[in-house]
């Protein structure tokens, strides 16, 4: 971005910069990978050839992989030394996101399962589909 780009210690997230291939090609690779992962996700969700109970977990794995593709090829989060601050911030964000989501699903699932079916609760319990 600036005239002394080679002199900078850090790079900003999202700033186009790529050392291995030219910038448009890097974006095109990212797009191709994201399209493949999206296509596989939709296929996995609609096919009946896979083991049913494992499909949801597989979809989550595919989604996490696609998020990684977006981070690397679109937001240019790399493992290089100029990216340390960006990666550390991302790591902290991911930690909080996983704590909130897994913690909630875990605890709310157990509370739901342990709830005794009292008479006045039948209305609530019938909402479990």
């Amino acid at each position: 971005m600036t005239e002394d780009e080679t002199d900078l210690i850090d790079v900003a997230p999202g700033a186009p910069h790529n050392n291995l291939v030219s910038e448009p090609i890097a974006y095109a690779i990212g797009l191709a990978l994201a399209l493949i992962l999206t296509g596989v996700s939709f296929w996995v969700a609609s096919t009946s050839t896979l083991w049913g109970p494992g499909v949801a977990a597989g979809l989550v794995v595919l989604a996490i992989a696609q998020m990684g593709v977006h981070l690397v090829f679109f937001l240019h989060i790399t493992s290089g030394p100029d990216n340390t601050n960006n990666v550390l911030a991302l790591a902290f964000g991911v930690l909080i996101v996983f704590l909130v989501m897994i913690g909630t699903i875990w605890i709310m699932g157990h509370m739901n399962a342990n709830m005794a079916p009292m008479p006045e609760m039948t209305n609530l319990m019938s909402q479990r589909g």
Binding site: Y27, A45, H70, L71, L90, M101, I105
Partner: protein, 213 residues
């Protein structure tokens, strides 16, 4: 910046860069997008709370419609494609801006916005047809959390569209000034982040929600 840092004793000289801040603060073109990156990450924390709410309430349908009866995968596939291409084209706009090409920057930004508008239009169509077929947000806890989660993403996309329009006008009027380019970079971070959140939404809400029970 480097000379300024040297006079106040913050640097050990260029050959001893440790990456630990000895040279003093980075330039604005680094610090501002980094700060915006922190905002985007905290926005993702906000979305994680909405995802957690959705996951906890997805079976609380109160006898109303369930996920399998509501969602249309074809619509979602088109939405996903539009937003993914929009994210890609936004990257092309950033490259054009880096090369200071006014025509290409405006063209790619316009295409980014149009693809975002396609996404938003399909989402609004989906919401209105859900409400029309008796699945409004007040029908059940599941639908409340669904409209909150997906609607919050849609609100972000709407804000992003307004921002794209603003940036097109600012680049047109003021050219590729340093501060304008920084704002453009923040916009691209925001737009790519929205696509990342959409990946989680179409997987957790739409694909897992429409798996055969």
């Amino acid at each position: 910046m480097t000379t300024e840092a040297a006079t106040i004793g913050l640097t050990h000289g260029g050959s001893e860069d440790t990456g630990l801040g000895h040279r003093g603060p980075e330039s604005k073109s680094i610090v501002i997008p980094y700060g915006f990156w922190l905002f985007v990450l905290s926005d993702m924390v906000l979305f994680s709370a909405l995802f957690a709410t959705y996951a906890a309430l997805v079976h609380a349908t109160d006898g109303g419609p369930v996920t399998n009866q509501l969602f249309d995968r074809t619509l979602v596939a088109v939405e996903t494609l539009a937003l993914l291409l929009s994210s890609f084209v936004c990257g092309l706009a950033m490259i054009a801006a880096k090369r200071k090409s006014m025509a290409w920057t405006q063209a790619w930004l316009l295409l980014t916005g149009l693809l975002g508008a396609v996404f938003l239009f399909i989402e609004l169509y989906e919401f209105s047809s859900l409400i029309a077929e008796g699945a409004p947000p007040q029908r059940s806890a599941f639908l409340s959390s669904f409209f909150t989660l997906v609607g919050c993403h849609g609100a972000h996309v709407t804000a992003g569209l307004l921002w794209i329009g603003t940036m097109m006008a600012q680049i047109w009027a003021k050219g590729f000034r340093q501060d304008i380019v920084r704002r453009l970079l923040c916009l691209s971070i925001f737009w790519h982040a929205l696509d990342i959140i959409w990946v989680a939404i179409f997987t957790i809400v739409y694909l897992i929600g429409t798996l055969p029970a």
